[in-house]
């Protein structure tokens, strides 16, 4: 169990790591000259946020979602429809998309997190796919299979669209969102809430026995996970100016899940690493990328069977060995209360 506590560090550590991550992003945004590479990294960063959302559900609730594309696509559709049909401002649409998805997930959570074990995964794939079907068939609202173009208003949160759409600005916006999501989750999970959710995850019955109400913490983790995913969906709608039913398809949820597993879900940043690897590998595969689903399917099987901690686990193991044992695992567990 101690492994689960390793990702949690004190607020000071989180602040230092956040600043460092932002600095790395700033250097990348300023230093990379190629717009192509920057837009690839932007995409990867958006998916990294998505994967962090899926990963936190697995890490804190022990639940595998095969349907998070529903939240990803839904956020884009909500923003798009509010701007297109209702003439909302960009800021209002973004906030409504994030809040709306979180609220929806909160309500849905009360039904779905009660479903035990693997049945939860089966449920989520069905929910996700019904959104895909719904968006494909209700042409009048969503544009059907053709998708929906979003004309973002000229300014968003005081920044003009022309500025925002410069590749390095867009990358930095997404990167900042990613870093803030991971940092926010790390902070939140270093409180009592994190300890409670872990207790519930490890043994719900015992947690109930010592007086913890077990349903609400699980619903809240589900909501958080959906919220982070909605951040990714909103950024994707902003980045491309477009949403399509493809963003709701189960294969998108599946890709996110692969990133989570390959990156390793025991650390909050593991899924983000997985997403980066995923996009870089797909780009690297080039012509062979037609078969990328099968390749990543095989990678998924390999990692889950032989290295369940994923790349982040391997990296942390390597780091510890280099530091000759390094910090003890107990210290983190103690401060997590």
């Amino acid at each position: 169990m101690s492994a689960a506590f390793q990702g949690i560090t004190r607020p000071a550590h989180i602040a230092v790591a956040t600043a460092a991550a932002l600095a790395v992003g700033g250097l990348a945004a300023g230093g990379i000259g190629s717009d192509m590479l920057l837009s690839l990294l932007t995409q990867a960063t958006i998916f990294a946020i998505f994967a962090v959302g899926v990963g936190v559900l697995l890490r804190q609730n022990g639940m595998v979602s095969f349907g998070h594309a529903a939240f990803y696509g839904l956020a884009g559709y909500v923003a798009g429809i509010l701007i297109r049909e209702m003439g909302w401002s960009g800021e209002g649409a973004v906030l409504a998309a994030l809040g709306g998805v979180a609220l929806f997930a909160f309500v849905l959570g009360f039904v779905v997190v009660r479903v035990p074990g693997i049945a939860f995964g089966m449920l989520t794939i069905a929910i996700g796919q019904s959104f895909y079907q719904g968006a494909t068939t209700s042409r009048s609202l969503t544009g059907g299979a053709d998708g929906l173009h979003i004309d973002w208003p000229q300014t968003l949160f005081g920044v003009s669209l022309d500025t925002l759409f410069q590749p390095h600005v867009m990358f930095m916006v997404c990167w900042t969102a990613l870093v803030l999501c991971v940092a926010g989750l790390a902070l939140l999970l270093s409180t009592n809430f994190g300890a409670v959710t872990e207790a519930v995850r490890d043994n719900e019955e015992r947690a109930r026995f010592i007086g913890i109400r077990t349903l609400l913490p699980r619903v809240l983790v589900f909501t958080l996970s959906a919220f982070v995913t909605a951040v990714a969906g909103t950024l994707s709608a902003l980045n491309t100016g477009f949403v399509s039913p493809e963003s709701l398809h189960w294969s998108v949820s599946g890709s996110a899940l692969m990133m989570v597993i390959v990156g390793g879900y025991r650390r909050l940043w593991g899924p983000a690493l997985g997403a980066m690897l995923f996009f870089l590998a797909r780009d690297f595969l080039g012509d062979f990328a037609e078969h990328w689903l099968a390749i990543f399917g095989a990678a998924l099987i390999f990692v889950i069977v032989f290295a369940p901690d994923g790349f982040s686990g391997a990296l942390v193991g390597l780091w510890r060995r280099m530091r000759g044992g390094g910090k003890s695992r107990g210290a983190a567990a103690v401060q997590a209360n």
């Binding site: 479903v115 049945a119 449920l123 068939t137 099968a294």
Partner: protein, 283 residues
């Protein structure tokens, strides 16, 4: 109109019976939810398509499930059996990876475009029932689904192997202590379940076209069936399959705007009422 829809709903429901009974059997013995089940159904359909082109539908109907049974036995021997002590989540993710590989394999071998399989000449006409013209092939599919349900129930209830399967589904450790070779039993049941998926694929091929998207639609519907019916329960799955088939076809007529999300609403409603499905509390 209504009669035809009712009929089509029952036909799709009986296809779902064949699919979901395979899923439920495998879950019962191995505690594995096979995410590759839909992909295996698709693989069965495409293999059947190729066999049918060279020989004919009836040979394909036997040969394709036989090939799939072999695939199932290998899947159990070199997959589920090696992973039986691992976290159930691990095995689920392995079957998910397998799904991606099989989908890619099918697209690479048979291409992405839709293929169609001719209805066998013997069943390629229609009859008039109560003033409605019904294709004989679909009637045959309906009866086939019912036959599979009845045969499986009788086999589990009255045969010696069926007794072992029921025992191992309840408690694999005690069953193996009683001298039942549960590994061989599992190989057999996973083989049977996979053969059923392949069989469903071949049977569906003449009236639903073959396409790389065919696997996820059926997989998701059979997941709804298995979750609503109660994981691992055959009677629950049978009831849920027919209900879902009817709901989908009637929904398309009466609530066309909601048709796509009806299975989802159906599932939510049942789960609110009974979180572990129609048939009880096994998790």
């Amino acid at each position: 109109m209504t009669f035809i829809n009712l009929f089509n709903g029952l036909v799709y429901g009986s296809l779902l019976i064949v699919m979901s009974s395979g899923l439920a059997l495998i879950y019962g013995l191995r505690r594995v939810v096979n995410f590759a089940h839909g992909a295996l159904y698709m693989l069965g359909a495409y293999i059947g398509f190729t066999i049918a082109q060279h020989t004919g539908f009836w040979v394909a109907l036997v040969a394709a499930p036989a090939v799939m049974a072999l695939v199932g036995v290998l899947l159990d021997r070199y997959g589920f059996r090696l992973l039986q002590d691992r976290n159930p989540l691990t095995v689920v993710l392995v079957t998910f990876g397998l799904l991606l590989i099989i989908e890619d394999f099918v697209q690479t071998v048979w291409g992405k475009s839709n293929l169609s399989m001719a209805t066998p000449a013997l069943l390629a006409h229609s009859v008039t029932v109560a003033g409605h013209e019904l294709p004989v092939y679909r009637i045959a599919v309906l009866f086939f689904g019912i036959a599979v349900a009845v045969a499986l129930s009788l086999w589990l209830r009255y045969s010696r192997v069926g007794l072992f399967v029921r025992a191992a589904s309840t408690d694999p450790v005690t069953t193996s202590m009683q001298g039942v070779n549960t590994d061989r039993l599992s190989a057999m049941v996973v083989g049977l379940g996979t053969a059923l998926a392949g069989l469903a694929g071949v049977v569906a091929a003449p009236f639903l076209s073959l396409s790389p998207a065919m696997s996820s639609d059926v997989l998701i519907d059979s997941f709804v069936v298995v979750v609503v019916g109660g994981l691992g329960s055959l009677p629950g799955a049978f009831a849920a399959a027919i209900l879902l088939g009817l709901l989908q076809s009637m929904g398309a007529v009466y609530l066309p705007s909601l048709a796509a999300i009806l299975p989802f609403l159906f599932m939510i409603a049942i789960l609110l009422w009974r979180p572990s499905g129609l048939a009880g509390n096994r998790t």
